[in-house]
C-alpha cells in the first residue's frame, strides 16, 4: 500500500510545481510596486532652486489642483527625451509642475533649462537624493501625480507616448 501511495503523491506534487512555474513564466518580470499610491505624500523640506529660501511640502502642494512632481537632472539623458512632454503639459490649466532637481550642479541645471526651456512652476533641489528616496523613487526620471496631498500615480522612467496617456486620463 505504502509503496503505491508515495509515487502518486510525488507525481501530484510535481504537477503542482510545474503549474506554479508555468504561471510564473506568464507573469511579467518587471517589478513596479504599487506602493505609495493613494498614500499621503511624504513631508519634506527643501531649498528652492534659485534662492536660499526653504519651503516644505505643505506649502508646495497647497492648492486644490493637480500637481506633477518630476524628478530630473541635467546629466540624465532620458530627461531630455521627456522634456517636450513636460513643456506640453505646462500649457494646461489647473496643473502645476514641480521640478525636483536631483543631485545636480546649479550651473549645469540652469544651462539645461536655458537650452530646453523651463516647464516648472517651482524647482526644488535634492542635492543628496534623499528627498527622492522619501518619495520611494528609484532615480531619474520619475514623475508623480498628486492631488489633495495624495499620490495618485507615478511614472517610472521618462514620460513618453504611452505614459502620457495615463497622465491625460487622470487629469480629466
Amino acid at each position: 500500500m505504502k509503496f503505491k501511495f508515495f509515487p502518486i503523491t510525488l507525481f501530484i506534487f510535481f504537477i503542482i510545481v510545474f503549474s506554479i512555474f508555468y504561471k510564473g513564466l506568464k507573469n511579467s518580470n518587471i517589478y513596479t510596486p504599487n506602493l505609495g499610491l493613494q498614500k499621503d505624500i511624504p513631508f519634506f523640506e527643501a531649498t528652492v532652486f534659485n534662492s536660499n529660501k526653504r519651503v516644505n511640502s505643505d506649502e508646495i502642494f497647497d492648492h486644490d489642483q493637480f500637481y506633477l512632481m518630476n524628478i530630473w537632472a541635467s546629466w540624465c539623458a532620458p530627461c531630455r527625451e521627456e522634456h517636450p512632454f513636460l513643456m506640453d503639459l505646462k500649457k494646461r490649466e489647473k496643473l502645476k509642475i514641480i521640478g525636483l532637481n536631483y543631485k545636480d550642479k546649479k550651473r549645469s541645471a540652469k544651462n539645461f533649462l536655458l537650452e530646453l526651456k523651463n516647464p516648472y512652476d517651482l524647482i526644488i533641489s535634492d542635492n543628496d537624493g534623499t528627498i527622492a528616496i522619501n518619495w520611494g523613487a528609484y532615480g531619474v526620471p520619475e514623475t508623480f501625480i498628486i492631488y489633495n496631498r495624495k499620490i495618485i500615480d507615478k511614472i517610472i522612467g521618462p514620460i513618453n507616448d504611452n505614459t502620457i496617456l495615463k497622465i491625460n486620463e487622470i487629469l480629466k
Partner: protein
C-alpha cells in the same frame, strides 16, 4: 556559407538520431554484441555537432554580421580571444555548447564502457539520446545560432565588457563539462535501474564518470567566483545570487552521490539513494538552466530572457522528471532488508550523516532560490532571499558537519572503534584553544565563531596529520578533506578580518587613518582597442612604513556604451589589497574604496586542492584497471 554549414550540420546531427535509435532497438533484442554501426552513428552525430560549433566559432572570428547571433554579441574591435569566447557567451551559442558536451559524453561513454553489458550500454545511450534530441529540437526550432539578418549590418552590438575576462571566458566550457556531463550519470542510472543492474560493479564503473563531472563542476564554480571577485568590483566572491546557487546545487548532489558510490562499491546498500541522487543531479542542472534562461528569476545573468524558451525548457525538464519517476518506481528493486542495518560507529554511518547534512544544505539553497517565485505566483508578493537567510540556516549546521567529516574517514567499514583517541582529543583541545585566542579580542559573536573556527581547525589538523602520515593511501580523500578544511578556514578568516575604507577624494587629496594613508596622486588617460581608460594612481602608506602603489581603472566602452570599474588587486599569501574608484555624478571627486581581504589566495588554492583530490582518485582508478 559557414552559416549554412553550421545550420545543416545541426540538421544532420539530429537525423543521426534515427539510425542510432533504430539500430539500438534491434541490437538490444538480438543476442549479438554491441553493433559497431551504433558507435559509428554516435560518432557522426558528435562530429557534426563539432562542425556546427566550430562553424559558429569561425563566424565570430571573422565577425560575420549576417549571422544574427554574431551581430548581437560581437564587435570588430573585440580582441580575438574574446571574439572566440563570445561564441558561448550568449544563449544560442551556449546551448550549442550544451549539445556539444552531451554528444561528447555519449561518444566517450560508448567507447569506454566496453567491459559493461550490452543491454546496459544501449539503454544508457538511448536515454542520453532522448536528452540530445530535446536539445537539438530546442536549438533548431527556437534558439538557432544560425539565423540570418538582412540587410547585413556593418558592425555588431558588442559583447558586454564585463564578460571580457579570461576567467569568465573559459568558465562556461569547464562548467558545462561538469554540469552537462552529469547527464551521462543520469542516463546511466536510469538504464541500470531498468535492468536491475545497480550493483557494486556498476558503482565502480560509474564512479569515474561521477569524478570527471565533479572535478569539472568544482573548477567551473571556482572560475565563476574568481571572475566575480576580479571583475565585478565589490570585493566579494559569493553572493547567493540565483545563478551561483544554480551551479552549487548540482555540485552538492554530485558530492553526495560520490560519497554514496564509495559505500556502494563496498556493500550493496543505499542503492535507491544512489539512483535518486543520480537523477537529482542532472535534474538540478536542467532546473538551473530553466531558472536562469526563462526570465523567471532576477539575477546578474546576461542571457536575454524569453518566456517562450522558458516554456520549452520547463516542459522538457518535467518530461525528464516524470520519466525518471516512472522508471524508478516501476523498475527499482531495493535490496533486501537484513543487510541494511548499520552499526552506529562505522564509516557507512558517517557517510549517511554526510548525506543528511548535504541534503539539508541543498534544500536550504533550493528553497531559498525558488521560494520567491512560488510566493509571487501564489500571492503576488515579491520578497528577496539574500545572504542573511543562507548564512543563518547554513552556518550553525556546519559545525556538526565538520566534526562528522573529521571523525568519519577514521572509522572502519561495518564496525569501528575509534583508534588514536588521544591524538584526536589533543587536536580538539588545541583547535578550540587556538580559536579562542583568535576570537576573544574581536567584537563579534563569541560563541558561534569560536566553535565554528575550532571545528574547522580540528578538521584541518586531523586531515593534515592523515595526509602527512599515510602518504599515498587514500590520498584523494585526504586532499579533498584537507582542501575543504582550508576552504572553510580561509572563508571564515576572510570574513572576520576583512576591512574597508570608503571615502571621496579629489586628485591630490589624501585620506589619513591610524593604520594607513591613501594618497590620490594623479589620473592617467589611456586609449585601448575598444575602450578608453581613466587610471587613478594611488600611493598607500601603511603604519609600519610599507609603501604600495595601486592603480584602479575606469573603463569607458564604446560598444555597448557603458562604464565599468576595474579593481587593482595586489595579492600575496596573506591577503589581497583591493581598490576601486568610481565616478560620482557631476562632481570633481572620485569615490574610492580600499579593502583588505585576507587569505583570498587560500580560498582559490583550497578549491584547487579539492579538485586535485578528485583528479587523483580518477587517475588511481585507471591505474588499477591496467
Amino acid at each position: 556559407m559557414l552559416n549554412s554549414i553550421g545550420h545543416y550540420s545541426l540538421i544532420f546531427g539530429i537525423c543521426f538520431s534515427f539510425p542510432i535509435i533504430f539500430y539500438s532497438v534491434i541490437n538490444f533484442r538480438n543476442s549479438k554484441e554491441l553493433d559497431k554501426k551504433i558507435i559509428f552513428f554516435i560518432f557522426l552525430q558528435f562530429f557534426f555537432v563539432i562542425v556546427s560549433f566550430l562553424g559558429l566559432v569561425f563566424l565570430f572570428i571573422i565577425s560575420d554580421f549576417s549571422n544574427e547571433t554574431v551581430f548581437n554579441n560581437s564587435h570588430t574591435t573585440k580582441p580575438l580571444f574574446y571574439k572566440i569566447s563570445g561564441t558561448w557567451g550568449n544563449h544560442e551559442g551556449s546551448l550549442l555548447l550544451w549539445l556539444l558536451v552531451l554528444t561528447l559524453f555519449l561518444f566517450l561513454f560508448t567507447i569506454k564502457s566496453k567491459d559493461q553489458k550490452k543491454e546496459y550500454r544501449i539503454l544508457t545511450l538511448l536515454f542520453q539520446q532522448i536528452i540530445i534530441i530535446g536539445f537539438f529540437v530546442f536549438l533548431i526550432k527556437n534558439s538557432s545560432p544560425f539565423n540570418y539578418i538582412y540587410p547585413i549590418p556593418d558592425e555588431g552590438l558588442g559583447l558586454n565588457p564585463i564578460l571580457q575576462d579570461p576567467a569568465l571566458a573559459i568558465h562556461p566550457p569547464i562548467l558545462y563539462l561538469g554540469y552537462v556531463g552529469s547527464s551521462i550519470i543520469f542516463s546511466s542510472a536510469l538504464a541500470a535501474t531498468a535492468l536491475n543492474y545497480i550493483s557494486k560493479k556498476w558503482a565502480v564503473h560509474i564512479k569515474r564518470w561521477v569524478l570527471v563531472s565533479w572535478v569539472f563542476l568544482t573548477l567551473g564554480i571556482l572560475l565563476g567566483s574568481i571572475w566575480a571577485y576580479y571583475e565585478l568590483g565589490w570585493g566579494g566572491f559569493w553572493f547567493w545570487d540565483p545563478v551561483e546557487n544554480v551551479s552549487l546545487m548540482p555540485w552538492l548532489a554530485l558530492t553526495t552521490l560520490l560519497h554514496c558510490i564509495l559505500v556502494l562499491e563496498k556493500r550493496l546498500v543505499l542503492t535507491s539513494w544512489v539512483v535518486i541522487l543520480s537523477i537529482t543531479t542532472f535534474t538540478l542542472s536542467m532546473c538551473g538552466t530553466f531558472l536562469v534562461r526563462s526570465g523567471i528569476l532576477n539575477s546578474v545573468h546576461t542571457f536575454a530572457n524569453d518566456p517562450e524558451r522558458g516554456l520549452y525548457i520547463l516542459i522538457f525538464l518535467f518530461t525528464l522528471i516524470f520519466l525518471s519517476l516512472f522508471i524508478f518506481f516501476v523498475f527499482h528493486k531495493s535490496e533486501t532488508k537484513n543487510t541494511t542495518s548499520f552499526f552506529w560507529l562505522s564509516k557507512e554511518t558517517s557517510i549517511l550523516i554526510n548525506n543528511w547534512f548535504m541534503m539539508y544544505f541543498l534544500s536550504v539553497i533550493l528553497i531559498g532560490t525558488i521560494y520567491p517565485i512560488f510566493l509571487e505566483v501564489l500571492s503576488s508578493e515579491k520578497i528577496s532571499v539574500g545572504p542573511p537567510f543562507y548564512n543563518k540556516l547554513i552556518i550553525p549546521f556546519l559545525i556538526p558537519f565538520l566534526f562528522a567529516m573529521t571523525i568519519g574517514p577514521k572509522l572502519n567499514w561495518i564496525k569501528s572503534d575509534l583508534k588514536n583517541k588521544l591524538n584526536l582529543i589533543v587536536f580538539l583541545i588545541i583547535s578550540f584553544l587556538l580559536s579562542y585566542l583568535i576570537i576573544k579580542d574581536l567584537k563579534i559573536s563569541f560563541l558561534i565563531n569560536t566553535v565554528l573556527i575550532g571545528s574547522a581547525f580540528f578538521l584541518f589538523f586531523v586531515t593534515m596529520r592523515d595526509f602527512m602520515k599515510s602518504k599515498f593511501r587514500n590520498l584523494s580523500q585526504s586532499l579533498g578533506h584537507l582542501g575543504f578544511s582550508l576552504l572553510i578556514l580561509s572563508i571564515l578568516f576572510n570574513n572576520i578580518f576583512s576591512s574597508e575604507i570608503i571615502t571621496n577624494l579629489k586628485i591630490g587629496e589624501t585620506f589619513e587613518s591610524k593604520k594607513v594613508s591613501i594618497s590620490f596622486e594623479s589620473v592617467e588617460k589611456k586609449e585601448y582597442q575598444n575602450f578608453s581608460a581613466v587610471i587613478g594612481k594611488f600611493k598607500i602608506l601603511h603604519s609600519d612604513g610599507k609603501i604600495e602603489f595601486l592603480e584602479p581603472e575606469l573603463r569607458i566602452y564604446n560598444q555597448p556604451n557603458i562604464v565599468t570599474s576595474e579593481a587593482d588587486i595586489k595579492t600575496n599569501l596573506l591577503q589581497d589589497i583591493f581598490m576601486t574608484i568610481n565616478l560620482v555624478q557631476n562632481q570633481e571627486y572620485f569615490n574610492v574604496r580600499y579593502q583588505i581581504k585576507p587569505f583570498m589566495l587560500w580560498i582559490w588554492l583550497s578549491v584547487l586542492l579539492i579538485s586535485f583530490g578528485g583528479l587523483i582518485s580518477f587517475l588511481k582508478k585507471r591505474q588499477n584497471e591496467i
